[in-house]
Symmetry: C2
Subunit: 224 residues, 2 copies
């Protein structure tokens, strides 16, 4: 006798169990954990390195790096002296909660205020896999065009924060290809509570507000 | 009694059957069919629209458009007067061969020289799913950084052509973030036969060589 099973649901529900365990661990220890998701090349690693340096005196930050191949990104993070653990997915298109669970064991979590998870560069698949994070941060580079919230709605609907990165390229890209007002309005149509910070990880523009939000979020969590 | 099955292998092999049927159909009819793969926002649709207009007198081109949501891209292609069929994957992260098989039925294939398939914006998953295409074209925008061939090797290893797009942004992006020689050398390390065309879909720079290659490839196929 055969029973029809929904494979996607089965895989997701096994992931959900590990995600729940990660969430419980992070909540109990009052650690803010943000899962960063974007297309390849939107600037996630550069944003993280800049954020760590700017918050050097205020927050202790650790990073879980997800990549298909290479540990280039973890190397870049370690140059800031922050602890970083690399997960190589070896072809897989997203991080899973069990991978993050193991990575958290390798980080000095007790000494950290904030843990970033840098997901695999992919605007689609990572949005379907909860890792137990406190919230998701979607990064959109202005070079990708302002139509991405409409064309890839899932991740914009689920994220706590949207970083619009590479605003230093706005002029070179041009208003017809990236109208920042349109990108923001479309993201808010999908998610009225989303926080939006336009930034340039290259020049540092806009990082003050993003860093203030991180510091406030950590304080709020730790005072609960 | 239970038998352990490799799920990924099963899904892939069902896809492979449809891909083989598509390949047979395209070969029999001597149609060149190129599967375009890139991150979201690398400029696939803009490249296609420009290519169709530039080759207006030389090749009859049709397009299969893959998107998660919206038919914005097919609309953009239809403005060039080329026939375009939209596939909305509704969340799925890649096109499948069965979807392409149905889409080909809606295109006037007998009247076409060249069929482009624009895959879902995703540098990872589409590389694992053959569609029956003659070859893959990977698009990398200079704004994404020159480390993408090393970090996402599968698609660069499998592609017939690499288009390095948005070379109009090279100066604004800067040599530390995109060294075109490095990107080309890394792609060739993975794939010594890959054809590489640096282009700007915005200014048209580099399109002459890319279009010549398309015309020659169609001629070669039709004269076989």
């Amino acid at each position: 006798m055969y029973k029809k099973v929904n494979l996607e649901q089965k895989i997701l529900s096994s992931n959900e169990e590990y995600a729940a365990a990660n969430r419980h661990f992070l909540n109990q220890n009052k650690k803010l954990c943000l899962n960063m998701i974007s297309s390849p090349g939107s600037g996630k690693t550069t944003i993280l390195a800049k954020t760590i340096i700017m918050l050097n005196d205020k927050l202790k930050i650790g990073v879980v790096e997800g990549d298909i191949k290479t540990d280039l990104d973890a190397e870049r993070i370690r140059k800031t002296n922050a602890p970083a653990v690399q997960i190589q997915t070896d072809g897989a298109c997203h991080l899973s909660a069990v991978q993050v669970s193991k990575a958290l064991e390798s980080l000095p979590v007790a000494n950290l205020d904030l843990i970033f998870i840098e997901n695999v560069g992919n605007l689609v698949c990572p949005s379907a896999f909860e890792l137990g994070e406190t919230g998701k941060v979607v990064v959109l580079s202005v070079a990708e065009g302002d139509d991405k919230p409409v064309k890839y709605p899932a991740i914009f609907a689920k994220s706590k924060v949207m970083l619009i990165n590479k605003i230093d390229l706005l002029e070179a890209v041009g208003l017809t290809d990236f109208n920042i007002e349109r990108a923001m309005a479309d993201a808010r149509k999908l998610n009225k509570d989303i926080k939006i910070f336009p930034v340039s990880a290259k020049t540092g523009k806009g990082f003050d507000k993003w860093c203030d939000w991180l510091v406030d979020s950590v304080k709020n969590l730790q005072s609960q």
